[in-house]
């Protein structure tokens, strides 16, 4: 078990105790608290993409920013053209990104590594959706512009994905241990983590389950990887330097996100708050996932 799994475990116990007391947590409260943690920890984990990329690749600043922002706008256009395919695309990118951040340095052939990242991530997301499909459907059907997303939550297709990708993930762990790609301790840690993820996604509502994973197991872990890398690269690099580095783009992203959501809430933008939230997260995930792929390789 690593420190991030332990933080996840603390989160699980806190939420279990909250449910023990309140039995149910109102959807609005779930959204408020989840947004707080996603903005506080989730956004900053992608706030130094430019720094990481410049350390890894020789590229002009102008070219980087044009490509980075260009990808954001290209994805926004895709959202405008097709909400359904954009969501599918977003889920695929996220799946790969989550898998890569979980096993960044596993020593297997690149093609198998990429397949494994992708399927590990799909197993994670399909598990989250499989256990919470009714809740997802009710949220989706609540807004006119998200109704189209209901097609994504098809139980029969989701079941196939859920069982096949989870079986693949478990079998991969056994293969890795037999091939000595991971040691016994890592093997038990990963199996324990999968069990913990299943238990929490099953027990907790969709938003809480996702936030807990995204904040504790993904964002904090990635930030730690970034910090370790920069500490190696820069003499006397301290945690305060890291926070200073994260702050500008984090604040900018949070302000911009808040502005868009306020515009949506006041019907100035023609997208509902949930759809706009998914759109914002997805368009910043695309370039971030590409940068992290370069970073981890």
């Amino acid at each position: 078990m690593n420190l991030f799994t332990f933080i996840y475990l603390i989160g699980v116990y806190i939420i279990l105790n909250l449910f023990q007391g309140f039995k149910q947590i109102d959807l609005n409260d779930q959204l408020i608290y989840s947004s707080f943690f996603i903005l506080l920890i989730g956004i900053p984990h992608g706030a130094i993409d430019h720094v990481l990329f410049f350390k890894k690749r020789k590229i002009s600043k102008l070219k980087f920013y044009v490509l980075y922002i260009g990808l954001i706008f290209a994805f926004l256009i895709l959202w405008h053209v097709s909400v359904f395919y954009s969501l599918i695309f977003f889920l695929f990118i996220s799946a790969f990104h989550f898998g890569e951040s979980q096993f960044p340095h596993i020593n297997i052939q690149p093609i198998f590594k990429n397949i494994f990242y992708f399927i590990w991530g799909i197993s994670l997301l399909s598990t989250l959706m499989f256990y919470n499909i009714e809740e997802l459907k009710s949220i989706t059907l609540f807004f006119d512009d998200t109704v189209v997303l209901e097609q994504v939550y098809d139980l029969s297709k989701l079941s196939i994905l859920f069982y096949s990708t989870n079986a693949f993930t478990f079998i991969s762990m056994f293969i890795f241990i037999f091939m000595k790609k991971i040691n016994l301790d890592r093997f038990f840690s990963e199996i324990f983590l999968l069990f913990l993820i299943h238990a929490t996604f099953y027990l907790f509502p969709f938003i809480i389950g996702f936030t807990l994973y995204f904040v504790a197991l993904h964002s904090l872990k990635v930030m730690n990887d970034e910090y370790i890398f920069l500490k190696k690269e820069t003499p006397n690099f301290k945690i305060f330097d890291f926070i200073k580095l994260l702050a500008p783009y984090s604040v900018l992203s949070i302000c911009f996100t808040a502005l868009l959501l306020v515009l949506s809430y006041n019907n100035i933008i023609g997208y509902s708050v949930p759809l706009l939230s998914i759109m914002i997260i997805s368009v910043i995930t695309l370039p971030h996932a590409i940068v992290m792929n370069v970073f981890y390789n």
Partner: protein, 242 residues
């Protein structure tokens, strides 16, 4: 009394079944650890004695719990907590004894004993003195969980983990890690069981009447397994010193 219970025990009473199994398994493990003290170096004898005490104390209480269950059909909360309050701090002592050779200080021993006692006393107040309100259950549940998380942190990342890492013994490193897994996975049944009690949020996941079965199985695995890991370390280290 016992004969009376035995004749009344239904063949499908799986809770009673696990109480009988728990009682005999703990007693057998206790005899095993006690007699195996002769097979290990002097510095490991105390660890094996503590292992024998853990299972021995548990065997006695399992005897009481088995009779209580047989006579009343109720969950023996009182005896269970008496057993845990004695045996869980003893398990924490095992961590101290293992890492003592790598320089563990007495303060570690007292911190672990205090945290485990805190965890159990808070759990007992939450479970046994309930006024039926969820506030009571949550308040004592949270306090108890803090004790558990402190122990888990200490053995996984804190003082115990660091001492094991610095011990220069692979056997101790692996042994402490194995015991840490017992704390993480095995001991998790206790807070989960707490939330499964009548009116608890997880009572729909695990029915309150089944909690005793899980407690009995977990107790047997945790206490005997814990002792066996300590025994494995003691035997390996004793052999390597010959």
């Amino acid at each position: 009394m016992l004969l009376d219970i035995v004749t009344k025990m239904a063949p499908d009473d799986y809770v009673g079944f696990t109480f009988f199994i728990g009682y005999m398994a703990m007693a057998a493990a206790s005899v095993f650890f006690f007699f195996e003290r002769g097979s290990v170096d002097a510095k490991w004898k105390l660890s094996l004695l503590v292992s024998a005490l853990i299972t021995g104390i548990a065997a006695v209480h399992y005897g009481y719990m088995r009779d209580y269950w047989g006579a009343t059909g109720d969950s023996p909360t009182f005896f269970r907590y008496v057993d845990w309050i004695l045996t869980v701090p003893l398990m924490c002592i095992e961590f101290y004894l293992l890492t003592k050779l790598a320089g563990a200080k007495k303060s570690l021993l007292w911190k672990l004993i205090l945290a485990s006692t805190w965890m159990l006393v808070c759990g007992y107040i939450g479970e046994a003195f309930t006024d039926g309100s969820t506030g009571h259950s949550v308040q004592w549940g949270v306090l108890s969980t803090i004790g558990y998380l402190y122990i888990a942190y200490t053995v996984w990342f804190g003082e115990v983990a660091q001492l094991a890492e610095n011990s220069n013994s692979d056997v101790i490193k692996k042994g402490v890690r194995a015991l840490a897994w017992f704390v993480l996975v095995g001991w998790a049944i206790y807070p989960i069981g707490y939330m499964c009690m009548e009116g608890g949020w997880l009572s729909s996941v695990m029915a309150p009447e089944n909690v005793d079965v899980w407690y009995n199985l977990a107790d047997a695995i945790n206490k005997i397994g814990f002792g066996l890991v300590v025994y494995g370390i003691a035997i390996s280290e004793s052999k390597s010193n010959k």
